[in-house]
Symmetry: C2
């Protein structure tokens, strides 16, 4: 029934699901549904470093003909995050973003407060990750994730000298996340 994942050969009923997720679901008495599979699949298809909001995810679902409701998108994002499959990101934007948790090189984000552009940088030699572990341990925490976020103005917005970055540019509508 189940199968381990090595590269990309997936079975029918649980495509390329990393074995751990399927197990995690079962462990909790949860079920593997078409919606959950599809959502995870979408995250896998995104270029590395993509982070989707609930609305963006839903748009991609609709786009591919999978009629998954927005409510389910929200529920699944929360579920997959609590399972450790997704990482929840909070830029100071008014809504959350999610990205697939890779087991390769961890990365962190730089966010432009002017245009909401985000740039990633890698946590080479896992320095930040390990710092998070150490500091957390010092305070008796079981660390789940450590996020280093740098807020600032990109070269673009710095030139435009937008003194009140929260006003105009961060339109907070649908598909933001532009260029650079």
């Amino acid at each position: 029934m189940v199968h381990r994942h090595t590269t990309e050969t997936g079975s029918v009923e649980s495509r390329e699901l990393p074995q751990s997720l399927y197990d995690n679901l079962r462990k909790r008495g949860l079920r593997l549904t078409y919606q959950r599979e599809t959502i995870l699949e979408i995250f896998r298809e995104q270029p590395s470093g993509t982070h989707l909001s609930a609305e963006e995810l839903h748009a991609k679902l609709v786009e591919r003909g999978a009629s998954v409701s927005l409510a389910t998108a929200y529920r699944t994002l929360n579920l997959l995050s609590s399972l450790g499959a997704l990482r929840e990101l909070d830029f100071a934007e008014g809504h959350k973003h999610y990205e697939l948790k890779h087991d390769n090189l961890p990365h962190q984000h730089i966010v432009c407060l002017g245009c909401n552009t985000t740039v990633e940088f890698e946590d080479e030699d896992h320095f930040l990750e390990e710092s998070g572990q150490k500091i957390g341990a010092r305070y008796n925490f079981e660390v789940i994730d450590a996020q280093f976020k740098i807020f600032g103005l990109c070269c673009h917005c710095r030139q435009a000298k937008q003194l009140c970055p929260k006003q105009a540019p961060a339109k907070r509508t649908k598909g933001i996340e532009v260029n650079l």
Copy 2:
């Protein structure tokens, strides 16, 4: 009219306002109002490390008899943040928090995903702060703030083994932010 601040001797019209803020307001053609003064004063009175949400701030305003509307609280929080007087914090909670920006030792946060407790740790020798500056510069960003946030489970919640931390505990009602 204006006055520099040294220790705590404040004038009547602009209590202990750090001179820089008053200047920043003027520089932008903004005004020094009773509401803005009072809000900043409240932040100053909080024990170091306190971070208030808009609702919490508003409660404190009402509590002291200053009838400042919630809308103004929101507007002022945004304004003071954009002026650099406050730091906007985003724990994965559904609403933002704000804390006074001190010029002394910078600090960062550990957040329990179970009970929303936050613990602070100091960024001794400004290591994280400087890292933020360096990394930002590398990507041509003007760095405004760098936040290192560690998410995990505190000893309490770890024992309670709340496998789905987003569900029950984070009630997302009013005054959360408890103990520890």
